[in-house]
């Protein structure tokens, strides 16, 4: 596995640079400036501690590889992605799962990031424990930043127990009706026509909840629906190929929505952050998350 020092050397301290993960969301935030040097982050699971509910891995590790390893001990990380998505890529785009109402958002996942800054120097953001309020939370700034503030090499992530099982149901119920039948459903999604509910937990509990929903006209799905990735912003128009999360207002779609509007104050603040972290604009040039 590539070391942090080797990764740092790859990143260098002068040229335009980007980390290429699986390339599954490569176009987000704009096109990379031509001539940008593309490097790869370290790959591989370094250390999984189920009793701590943390895992340390190279940012270039495939998310599916990581989830498979965690699955052996009935744990998972609350990140979503495509088969080729990497851990670092999923963090950089802030790819929360459609189950976020129950398992939390992508921004809750990153506990520590060993990074290379725009100056080519290594630094560490966050800490390796599940609870931590020591200093400023740079990890939250890195999630969804599209690699424009620093480049993540090795990350420590929060894991969580996997539910014993999950059941998808489909029907036409309203959110209020579903919540009267279910305690903290993992997903309540709407595709413009139907409502899709995912309930998770232990078998007997789910049998009861499922029966309540079925009484109201929902039916158990034989095949799980395919949920596209999270996109930024609120629902703008009709859902053509995606889902609206009725619990959080998040949108899951294969078509990124138009640029999300931000206020002038937020833009000014975001510009200052970008300039302070990357004064020469060498990290992922051409891309902006806003």
């Amino acid at each position: 596995m590539k070391t942090m020092d080797e990764f740092t050397e790859d990143v260098g301290d002068t040229s335009f640079v980007s980390v290429r993960g699986g390339g599954t969301r490569w176009g987000l935030g704009g096109s990379l400036t031509e001539g940008t040097n593309e490097v790869e982050a370290p790959k591989g699971v370094i250390n999984f501690k189920p009793e701590e509910m943390i895992v340390r891995a190279g940012a270039g590790t495939k998310l599916s590889t990581l989830q498979n390893e965690l699955n052996d001990l009935k744990q998972e990380v609350a990140l979503a992605g495509f088969p080729d998505s990497t851990v670092g890529g999923s963090l950089a785009v802030g790819s929360s799962s459609h189950r976020r109402a129950r398992i939390g958002a992508a921004s809750d996942v990153l506990l520590q990031a060993d990074c290379v800054g725009a100056d080519g120097e290594q630094f560490v953001a966050g800490g390796p424990t599940v609870k931590n309020v020591t200093g400023y939370d740079i990890c939250r700034l890195l999630v969804s930043s599209l690699g424009t503030l620093a480049l993540m090499g090795v990350v420590t992530l929060r894991t969580r127990p996997k539910p014993e099982m999950g059941v998808w149901l489909k029907g036409e119920l309203l959110l209020e009706e579903i919540l009267r039948c279910c305690y903290r459903p993992a997903s309540v999604l709407h595709d413009g026509h139907n409502t899709f509910v995912l309930i998770e937990g232990y078998e007997k509990d789910l049998q009861k909840e499922s029966a309540s929903l079925e009484k109201l006209g929902m039916s158990v799905m034989e095949i799980d629906p395919i949920i596209p990735p999270l996109v930024k912003g609120a629902l703008q128009e009709n859902l053509d190929d995606g889902f609206l999360d009725l619990q959080t207002g998040a949108v899951y779609s294969n078509t990124p929505q138009e640029k999300v509007e931000i206020s002038e104050e937020v833009k000014l603040l975001s510009d200052r952050i970008k300039n302070n972290f990357d004064p020469t604009g060498r990290l992922n040039p051409g891309r902006r998350p806003y």
Partner: protein, 484 residues
């Protein structure tokens, strides 16, 4: 008359009174003394003029005046902080949010409440009784601390083990930035675009601006709760039980540990039925749907038995459950009766090292001839060693400081961090360089400078500054509203 006349002569005071009104701005000596302290053992400078704004525009006016007069400002809620985060250095303008105490809107369908920062944490959950919802962060000071303070410190609490700390429960914030502009960070509709400014503002300890409106997510009340009281003859067995519960894929709602000294102090007061001859008492609470709760209770009981638990008692009813929690949450007040002074620590260590580190904490206390009491959030490895002492005895304060430094050192050596929920404030700035390299701290400073280029909002806190502000003092009484 003379005082009023003097007031009119001070242009800063005059400007602040014009922005608010005479009844909500004071520079009286007693007020300045009161607002120079918080719940911590830290002493800094002296509060300057104290303002009590009631809405966002008034906060913006205060910040604008601070900028105009080139003065620093410090925001303060109920003052229950334990790291000196709202202790003033020099004589800053104090922006006190206690009059911003309105619950503006509760949307039960979206499960969002917009509140002002001065709303007391428990008041929000109490106001939601009967709706089936509550605000999940439950710091032990919840009957006094404000939600604005929870945002500043990214507060936790016993039930944050399963539900997450404050950051996970804040959807959006309206803030006054240090340049007096007003911005909304985050959103209650979908996913915010751009950098996660909401996420970094929470836990900023008041150094990134002032939160003036907070949209909090409300959590569904669990249909079933089981509260277990487990007693052990060895604290190391209790700690091992905690590690194994987590390793077995059970994430209880709460997992709290109290040692023998704490039990002895608390039981006469709380009458919770804690066994006085136990070396350690573990409170484990699981919630959710009936089969899940029953299954997890069985796993916890089995693991405890394998680790030598003497008894596993489940609260038979709500009254018993409340008594068990009353003992835990009032631990600090009871401890205060033992010795006149205290110093409470707050570090986090890997759960798997709990047994070893607790043993070392006892050894450190013994080395310095001090009494240490342990009551803490075991489930997430958040230690709260409490040194109790009599500062009137010569040399004691120095011993307490040295013991405290060693406890922090041990926590870092096993891969822990400086703070789990109290924050850095003034108290732990000097340790920051032990956890972070200079380059790590530069990255943090880049964030801070982005929000506050003029270093005006609660300066001299969090990052090491070399400033002489902030000394540890002894407290001869527990301030009202301070809990572990």
């Amino acid at each position: 008359m003379r005082k009023r006349h003097q007031k009119l002569k001070d242009p800063l005071l005059k400007a602040l009174i014009r922005a608010l009104d005479e009844n909500r701005v004071t520079d009286g000596a007693s007020a300045r003394r009161i607002y120079s302290k918080d719940g911590s053992v830290m002493e800094g400078g002296r509060a300057g003029i104290i303002c009590f704004p009631e809405d966002t525009s008034e906060v913006a006016a205060c910040v604008s005046i601070a900028k105009e007069f080139d003065r620093e400002f410090v925001t303060r809620g109920a003052g229950t902080g334990l790291a000196g985060g709202s202790v003033p250095c020099n004589d800053p303008i104090m922006i006190v949010t206690t009059r911003m105490n309105k619950i503006i809107d509760v949307d039960l369908k979206k499960r969002i409440a917009w509140v002002q920062p001065g709303v007391v944490n428990l008041d929000l959950s109490n106001s939601l009784k009967g709706t089936g919802l509550h605000f999940a962060p439950d710091p032990s000071s919840q009957q006094a601390c404000t939600i604005g303070g929870n945002v500043a410190n990214n507060s936790g609490g016993p039930h944050c083990l399963a539900y997450g700390v404050t950051n996970s429960h804040v959807a959006a914030l309206e803030v006054v930035l240090p340049d007096a502009s007003i911005a909304q960070l985050g959103t209650i509709e979908g996913e915010a675009g751009g950098y996660d400014l909401r996420g970094v503002f929470v836990g900023g300890e008041g150094t990134l601006g002032v939160a003036t409106l907070i949209a909090v997510r409300l959590t569904e009340d669990p249909p079933e709760i089981a509260t277990l009281l487990l007693d052990f003859s060895k604290i190391t067995d209790a700690a091992e039980t905690v590690s194994q519960i987590i390793a077995n894929g059970v994430l209880p709602a709460a997992l709290e540990l109290m040692d023998r000294n704490v039990v002895a102090a608390v039981e006469p007061f709380a009458k919770a039925g804690y066994p006085l001859d136990a070396e350690a008492v573990l409170i484990a609470e699981v919630d959710g749907l009936p089969e899940g709760v029953s299954h997890e209770v069985n796993i916890i009981s089995e693991i405890a038995k394998n680790n030598g638990v003497r008894e596993v008692r489940m609260a038979a009813n709500e009254e018993e459950r409340e008594r068990i929690w009353k003992g835990r949450k009032s631990a600090f007040g009871a401890i205060a009766k033992i010795q006149p002074d205290y110093y409470l620590h707050d570090t986090v260590i890997p759960r798997g090292r709990l047994a070893e580190v607790i043993q070392k904490v006892y050894e450190i206390a013994e080395k310095y001839g001090l009494t240490v009491m342990n009551v803490f959030h075991a489930g997430d490895g958040n230690l709260h060693p409490l040194l109790v002492f009599d500062a009137r005895l010569p040399g004691t304060l120095e011993k307490v400081q040295r013991a405290g430094e060693e406890i922090v050192q041990i926590s870092l050596e096993v891969g822990g961090v400086l703070s789990g929920e109290h924050g850095i404030g003034l108290e732990k700035q000097r340790f920051m360089s032990q956890q972070f390299s200079e380059r790590d701290l530069e990255a943090q400073d880049a964030l801070r400078r982005s929000f506050d280029p003029e270093n005006r909002s609660n300066p001299h806190k969090v990052l090491p500054t070399g400033s002489s502000c902030g000394e540890m003092s002894s407290l001869n009484e527990i301030p009202e509203g301070v809990w572990i």
